[in-house]
């Protein structure tokens, strides 16, 4: 299946320019479209020079945390006394998010070029690309692109004649959302259960096999080649609102819009434009109820809150939510918020690695309470109990999976309390069966 919608005039196509164009998948095809120029330039620079350009561009991590990429790279030791590693996080599993999949599917060399530049910048010779097990077609496409890049001299012992060695290993996951957490991912690559590690030490100090390691998201790395070719000032200039949020961002829009799909816009674009114009708004006869703007782990926004929201890290934070991964779940007025929050809680309960008590017990307990509310067997004190549980699940565990379960629950109770009350006071018919 091709790309689901034609590009819109309000989009700014940088990363997604060649989505839907199968000719861009090969090494030759990518070079014909201007590819690998960024890597060639980077190879003529020192590590520090590359890091400084990325720092100056303002690029921030697109996986969800939004940490400045150049700064992250600068934490890697200057002296290479033991192997340095780059890990590319292609474990895209955050509900609502499906952008990395498209980058790999259509432009695998865009990713490999960014990986190679990043490896050069952090002094790494080996890159592990961790791709989720369910992305079967993307795994095949990426593996073929890696082989193509080796044959063409873009990877291997002497990258483009520079004398520099850069190797790529594609490592396939096997079904575990938590492996998208960077320290869980490192454990998974090492052949272990994907349990997150306590930080510090941070990966730049002790990551894969206790060696200095940097982990970057697919979309972050895909932007690097463009920044090297077009310059930090060009990237920094892609900004419509907060100067702390630069560049373009792929927003994955799903749910009840007429044209779901990935939309690449300049940071700071009004959320209203994306939902109502670019995505075609709601289905006929339906009105917007809620948006979860940054993947399922962030607080829910109401229809009123998206009216004047700039889509960048600061703009969405000002509305009490987060840009996160840019996965937007759009829900119209046919949506049962309580049921969907239960499905999200069930997701986190299923995906908890079960190391921390607050998460193991909290996600499962939250799910059971929501299920009994939906079954018409809720108790008057259940909402207070959910909020108390959420408080115990926030900021108290090794990783943020537990917090991610609490965020939609707390925000839904705050903003859609009437829907919970309707089940609790029996004015709404139960949709589940009590167990």
């Amino acid at each position: 299946m091709g790309y689901p919608h034609p590009s819109h005039a309000k989009e700014q196509l940088v990363l997604s320019k060649h989505f839907g164009d199968a000719g861009a998948r090969t090494f030759d095809g990518w070079v014909k479209r201007g590819g690998y120029e960024g890597l060639k330039r980077a190879l003529g620079m020192t590590r520090d020079q590359v890091v400084e350009i990325v720092k100056a561009s303002g690029l921030r991590g697109r996986g969800g945390a939004g940490f400045p990429t150049g700064l992250k790279w600068s934490f890697m030791p200057k002296e290479v006394t033991k192997p340095h590693y780059l890990v590319c996080n292609a474990d895209e599993s955050e509900p609502g998010t499906f952008k990395d999949r498209e980058i790999i599917r259509w432009t695998p060399h865009q990713l490999l070029e960014g990986c190679a530049i990043a490896a050069h910048a952090i002094g790494a010779e080996r890159i592990y690309i961790y791709i989720r097990g369910e992305f079967t077609a993307e795994h095949r496409i990426l593996t073929a692109a890696v082989e193509d890049a080796y044959r063409s001299g873009a990877l291997g012992g002497n990258v483009f004649g520079s004398g520099r060695r850069i190797d790529v290993v594609v490592h396939r996951g096997a079904g575990a959302y938590i492996c998208g957490e960077e320290t869980a991912m490192m454990n998974s690559i090492e052949g272990k259960r994907g349990n997150p590690r306590i930080k510090p030490p941070f990966p730049a100090a002790a990551g894969l096999w206790a060696c200095p390691t940097t982990i970057n998201n697919v979309e972050t790395l895909a932007a690097i080649g463009h920044i090297l070719v077009r310059g930090a000032d060009w990237y920094k200039g892609l900004c419509l609102s907060s100067p702390k949020s630069t560049g373009t961002k792929l927003f994955s829009v799903c749910g009840h819009v007429q044209r779901p799909g990935n939309y690449e816009v300049v940071m700071g674009t009004p959320m209203r434009d994306l939902v109502y114009d670019m995505c075609g708004g709601m289905r006929p006869g339906r009105a917007l109820k809620a948006v979860i703007p940054g993947g399922s782990s962030v607080p829910i926004m109401t229809a009123a809150e998206i009216e004047d929201c700039a889509m960048d890290y600061e703009g969405i934070a000002a509305k009490g939510s987060m840009l996160g991964s840019g996965g937007m779940i759009v829900m119209d007025d046919s949506t049962d918020i309580v049921y969907q929050v239960m499905r999200l809680a069930r997701f986190y309960a299923h995906e908890s690695c079960a190391q921390c008590t607050q998460c193991r017990e909290g996600t499962a307990w939250t799910t059971r309470i929501l299920e009994r509310i939906l079954a018409g067997a809720g108790k008057a004190e259940d909402l207070a109990l959910l909020l108390d549980l959420a408080d115990n699940m926030t900021g108290k565990t090794i990783c943020v999976l537990s917090d991610s379960c609490a965020a939609p629950v707390v925000s839904a109770i705050k903003k859609f309390r009437g829907e919970f009350d309707a089940y609790l006071n029996r004015t709404r018919r139960p949709v589940m069966v009590a167990v």
Partner: protein
């Protein structure tokens, strides 16, 4: 460390699979060994090795766990711990075609539960996780497949199918004998 006798329940169960033929011989062994230089430890080859077992045998049996442990210099208990952490590894036999339907919120609000019902009905599986009487299908609900804009995505074996509706289900199933 090696898969020594009495090392745990995995080994005990292995005795019952008397006809067990090793997976890591010939070409499969060569494929695994070709991965060794890509990682500083043998242990790191565990996930790839388990994938190879599942590709060859359809599931990862207690005897296979013992064999993988032996080949990579790990204990069967450790390997079993890893196998059971990851949901895509099958610890028991499944139908010839394994169907995973995404039902997390983004797909859920687009009708994913009706797609699940259609698969359960048309495969004859009846309930989630059960295998049809002819051994042809197993259907499960899966958490987010990462294709939310293409609701409802379904993974049948290695085929990733987008935009599945209940109406499309009978036609899709015809492709899996």
């Amino acid at each position: 460390m090696s898969g020594t006798p009495g090392a745990g329940p995995a080994h005990a169960e292995a005795h019952h699979e008397e006809s067990y033929q090793p997976v890591f011989v010939g070409a499969v062994k060569a494929r695994l060994e070709a991965l060794f230089p890509q990682y500083p430890t043998r242990q790191a080859c565990l996930l790839p090795a388990l994938w190879m077992v599942q590709e060859e045998r359809g599931w990862i049996s207690p005897s296979a766990i013992g064999e993988v442990a032996e080949v990579l210099g790990l204990t069967p208990a450790f390997v079993k711990g890893v196998v059971t952490f990851y949901t895509m590894y099958h610890t028991h036999p499944v139908g010839r075609h394994f169907i995973q339907v995404c039902t997390t919120s983004p797909c859920n609000i687009c009708g994913a539960e009706d797609v699940v019902k259609a698969f359960l009905q048309h495969t004859g599986c009846g309930e989630l996780g059960a295998t049809s009487k002819d051994g042809r299908f197993t259907v499960i609900e899966v958490e987010c497949l990462g294709a939310c804009g293409f609701a409802t995505p379904v993974l049948i074996d290695d085929d990733f199918i987008e935009g599945v509706t209940p109406e499309r289900v009978p036609g899709i199933l015809q492709g899996y004998k």
